[in-house]
Symmetry: C2
Subunit: 453 residues, 2 copies
């Protein structure tokens, strides 16, 4: 007899976890919809030709590949086998599991470009799979929640991303967090201004680690990456800049005065803030972080990252604007901006801050309990009235000790038990016990409906 | 430049399909919850040791297997390669994609048996994958919606399955359908009564095809399967039985009088009907189909199948009771009963019968349109009021021809457009156009909120 287990890095989500996950996902979904985003779902499997080459060499390694069906070895020669994985892979596998939601979205846009109405605002909430080494907080299957709009350059989209993040966090009860924002063009301008034009790529990679490793280590890395000492010196006023949002903007207008690209980035940022003002909104939680780079190389405009303060896992959301998402699939010039919530991280943050609602509003509200077959029959006769008014309710389905039935209710976190004894049967009532308070009162069915409805 | 495509047998679900799928799934989910079922999600990937041997030899062939990560060829010898797939498979793959929701559920119950409260009622709505040959209505990725209760023999569960099916169908507007019900024990009894005891297995396989191929062909198959001509003769009164539900039960009480198992099956069925009566429910849509067998061999009690009449794809739901779901994972004696909705089939049926709601209640309700930058700014200034009252709304994010913006609203099926022209700006109003009727009226923001809220 085999003892079953789960694959490494994967999880089951039981009723309690599902309730909490849905609490987060429903909040995100409502917000996306409120802002006009429409849902898309793509298949778990994509052709490997769609996936490979999109996530760098490391990403290709982390793709889960699916073995071809049937005679999958038929094209493999002993010579292929000798070459190892690289000789065999393309002959035994042509599909892989979704690695993120962005590439499938780009594929979808290209395949449906003639039917779609642009600007196209889509959201997508689905699991992705990565063959990463599993560790705390890192799984091989996890959900992503993406919202993207493609087909417009309008910075209204960027402003609305800030509003959506604030709405989700406010609904979830998260109050201590920062929406860090920057613009990739500013980073380009900084590379020019410090005397290393065109090197914003390595500059970004290095300063992306500033939070984690500190300025000393970043300087070492910049030297290794061939930056001149003078350039690094030029960079340091930025790293140590102690001023507010407006102050940073004024500083950059001078610092970047010879870089049209850099100034464009500042201008875009100011426009995002100005649009918020036009919408009657303030800059609460918005932090202009000149050093924010984010790893992904396809960003060309605004960059976002959201950090929750005072918890172990901080970064729970991020995104940015890209100019050429679909170019790799043959459709150039589709600009867009998008962002993503990390649900597993938000879950951990909510858990750490004890922010999940205590009552399980999605669960059964009433259990009908009984002492004998007669009581069960009576319970069955009144059960329908509760369900017909939409009250989630169930009957303990077999004759059993009342203690066992109360334990059942308690373990399932059912808040009310309607006890069906001889008295209740003869008077057409229910003794409704509130498990939280321990109080019990005898009610007519109508009164019970009113109490629980 | 590559032209992207989808893997065979898989689909994208765009906004319209998602709205419709969610309409079905929400209805099913609400109903499951109303009856006290709790949600479970399991990983897409399971160990192959969990999956193989559970679905028969054909099922094993149809499992999607995942290639091991990294140096996946390292244990494969040229000798293995010579043997073909059977020599190589176990060395290159140890995980597969979920084939149904039942086996993962059984695994979950066994792994969590000490934490779960029985009877455990769970529902699960997730995709499954099968490497079947794709054809009309058959996909390689499709959703299943299962509800099961384990840990009780109570026939209340069977009665409630009938109620859940009726509720879902009623909410979806489906009126012409039959919930076919039978009991596996009756089939066992029939095998005994016709003089072929112990042969209910092949009997089931053959008569399961009765609807598709007719009685003549079934007889031929029974002969091939070694049934005596006399036994088949004994079976024919059952096949041609023209009577109502009560008549069938009376007939079987005589026909099965020497089979205690068969009589137990009839008794269980009567109990299910009697429980419905106790719950104040009738037998609407319930059809006792003595010949209903269903393919799966693990059923031991009630069997269900739901057919919609007057459409090309009829069977949209099914299930039954099993006595030993978890035995294969080392936990014997866990009885349960469950059923499943086929979402893709329900979708096709709803589509064929034109039952989807015409208005896209999940979509954006209001688009703010404008003629120039001033109008866009005004639109931005009023947009928040709508969102704050929960009205799904958006602004056309850039200055564009009004015709283009109206087309955008029309294509996205947004029912109302709030036009922001100079008049509206100066009077603090909106000209709200109803795209369905073509009427337009100038409203204050408060009036517009009241109209759309």
């Amino acid at each position: 007899m085999q003892k079953p287990s789960l694959p490494k890095g994967t999880r089951d989500f039981g009723p309690v976890q599902m309730f909490r996950r849905n609490y987060i996902l429903d909040t995100i979904r409502d917000t996306f919809q409120l802002f006009g985003y429409q849902q898309l779902e793509t298949p778990a499997m994509e052709n490997l030709s769609t996936l490979t080459g999109k996530y760098g060499e490391e990403g290709d390694q982390l793709l889960f590949k699916i073995l071809n069906s049937g005679e999958f070895t038929k094209d493999v020669t002993p010579g292929d086998l000798e070459k190892g994985p690289s000789g065999v892979l393309s002959k035994v596998s042509e599909k892989g599991l979704r690695y993120d939601l962005t590439v499938p979205f780009a594929r979808y846009v290209v395949m449906n470009r003639n039917e779609l109405t642009f600007p196209f605002k889509r959201y997508q909430i689905q699991p992705v799979w990565r063959a990463d080494r599993p560790q705390k907080g890192r799984y091989r299957e996890f959900y992503q929640c993406d919202a993207d709009v493609v087909g417009t350059d309008s910075l209204v989209c960027e402003s609305e991303i800030i509003l959506m993040i604030r709405r989700v966090f406010s609904k979830l009860g998260l109050t201590s967090y920062g929406i860090k924002i920057n613009n990739r063009k500013i980073l380009t301008g900084i590379a020019e201004a410090i005397g290393e034009p065109g090197k914003e790529g390595p500059l970004c990679v290095a300063i992306d680690k500033l939070d984690k490793v500190g300025w000393e280590k970043v300087q070492e890395e910049l030297i290794q990456r061939g930056f001149e000492a003078a350039s690094i010196q030029n960079l340091s006023p930025l790293v140590n800049l102690e001023t507010d949002l407006k102050g940073k903007i004024e500083f950059l207008k001078v610092f970047l005065k010879d870089s049209p690209t850099g100034l464009k980035g500042v201008e875009e940022l100011e426009e995002v803030f100005s649009l918020l003002e036009k919408m009657g909104e303030d800059l609460a939680h918005v932090e202009f972080d000149i050093m924010l780079a984010r790893g992904l190389s396809y960003y060309t405009g605004a960059i976002f990252e959201v950090k929750v303060y005072g918890v172990s896992i901080g970064s729970v959301s991020g995104g940015g604007r890209y100019d050429n998402l679909t170019g790799v699939f043959g459709l150039p010039g589709v600009s867009g901006v998008g962002f993503s919530f990390g649900v597993d991280r938000l879950y951990d943050v909510m858990d750490e801050l004890n922010l999940f609602p205590g009552d399980r509003v999605n669960g059964t509200k009433l259990l009908l309990a009984h002492f004998d077959q007669k009581g069960l029959d009576y319970a069955l006769s009144v059960l329908n009235s509760f369900r017909k008014t939409g009250i989630k309710s169930e009957v303990y389905p077999e004759v059993a000790k009342i203690k066992k039935q109360l334990e059942f209710a308690s373990k399932k976190e059912i808040p009310f038990v309607g006890i069906c004894g001889d008295n209740e049967i003869s008077t057409g009532t229910l003794s409704v016990k509130n498990l939280a308070t321990g109080t019990q009162e005898t009610l007519t069915i109508e009164e019970a409906l009113a109490l629980l409805g």
